[in-house]
Amino acid sequence: MNTNAWPLWEVFVRSSRGLSHVHAGSLHAPDAAMALRNARDLYTRRNEGVSIWVVPADAISSSDPDSKGSFFESPQGKDYRHATYYTKSEGVKHL
């Protein structure tokens, strides 16, 4: 492994004020300051953003893909968490 290889960064772009930052892609940079600048140059060449986050790719923890069944099972079937579950009140104004 070449120790001079620049680390990988994940880039998140806010496309306009009021919206969340959304993952745009990744890039290589020697440090955070350059990662931000590279992200600006690479991911906002067409006015795609008003704000950028960069995160070292290895700093991201993610859920285990092998356990996706159990990890995301619980909310399935709990339709009472959604307004559409409550049908009797349908048609009542301002509700």
Binding site: M1, N2, T3, N4, A5, W6, L8, G25, S26, L27, H28, P30, D31, M34, L42, R45, R46, S62, D64, P65, D66
Partner: protein
């Protein structure tokens, strides 16, 4: 398209591992049959990973090597507006290479390694970039024909089953929308210009037409990997299918240009409902692929030179980052 047990489970695993592999395979097969997306940390068959890695890295290399024939004309562009457009286009290609390398990296291969393979001549890239861009009209023909063919290939790839690849392609297709148009307009302007300009345009179309058709890859009956890629939902249409669609589009567009395609056998086959074209020289294609094109050596050398000349810069930035991190740690 369902794909069941495309990859048999390797036999030398322990019972536990075997069970996990089988569960992984079943999950993978379900995702593919539902036409959903595989994401980086999902289990995937080794052959799927390898196929994708090969395809995405080749695609990335093509963007990077593909910068060269056009960069060749940035300093000589005949108007400042064209200079700006060309510069933006070649720069976009660097960006597209970057998006694709990132997608490939999610499969566990570092960009450094991919770059090393490219420079060592171990990796492939689109063969068409081994032809020289000898006139300004080539900027038009490359945009219109080469980018046109690339877009035909790429639009269906936006739905490739591997998530990061599909997402990179969405971004690339959006950005490339101007590439083909600017090429078309260069040719249109030349075609409507002086006799010398029109000749320049026709000559460029003559030279780039066949190589552009060959960008879709060998004919279906000579394309061993295509079937598997289609079963995996990486590829959505066969090489010949895409080539035929492309010819159909070019036939109409070339009329608007007031130029001709160097192929008198283009016709619409009423029976198959497909566009057909004259024979292509697949021997030449294989020659160029094997390194015997007019510019193979030149293109690789140029990439190698940029990489080598930049080594001290990359090293300096990495060293600076290390020192800064140490300082922060000490403080």
């Amino acid at each position: 398209m369902a794909s069941q047990n495309l990859q048999s489970v390797p036999p030398e695993l322990s019972p536990d591992e075997r069970e996990r592999e089988q569960a992984g395979q079943a999950y993978f097969d379900r995702i593919i049959s539902e036409d959903s997306r595989i994401e980086p940390r999902d289990w995937m068959p080794e052959a799927y990973r390898k196929t994708l890695l090969r395809q995405i890295s080749q695609h990335a290399h093509s963007e990077i090597i593909g910068m060269q024939p056009e960069a060749n004309w940035i300093t000589r562009a005949p108007s400042l507006k064209r200079k700006a457009i060309l510069m933006a286009k070649v720069q976009d290609e660097a960006g597209h290479g970057l998006y694709l390398y990132s997608a490939a990296e999610t499969l566990g291969q570092s960009r450094d390694k991919m770059m090393d393979d490219l420079i060592a001549g171990k990796a492939r890239y689109s063969s068409i970039f081994n032809y020289p861009a000898i006139s300004w009209a080539d900027m038009g023909a490359i945009g219109w024909l080469v980018d046109g063919a690339a877009i035909c290939n790429q639009v269906p790839l936006c739905r490739a089953s591997y998530g990061p690849y599909g997402r990179a392609m969405v971004r690339i297709c959006k950005e490339e929308s101007f590439h083909q148009r600017q090429g078309f307009e260069i040719l249109l302007e030349l075609s409507n210009g002086t006799e010398a300009q029109k000749q320049m345009a026709q000559d460029a179309v003559n030279r780039w037409y066949a190589p552009a058709l060959m960008m879709f890859g060998p004919p279906d009956d000579d394309s061993p990997n295509s079937k598997q890629s289609m079963a995996w939902n990486i590829k959505r249409f066969s090489n010949d299918e895409l080539r035929s669609r492309f010819v159909g589009m070019m036939v109409e567009q070339v009329k608007v240009l007031g130029l001709t395609l160097p192929d008198d056998q283009v016709r619409f086959n009423e029976e198959t409902k497909k566009w057909e074209h004259g024979p292509l020289d697949w021997n030449e294609f294989k020659d160029v692929l094997a390194g015997r094109g007019p510019c193979n050596a030149q293109r690789l050398e140029r990439r190698r030179e940029a990489h080598d000349d930049g080594a001290w810069v990359r090293e300096a930035a990495a060293e600076y980052a290390r020192k800064q991190a140490e300082k922060e740690y000490a403080a």
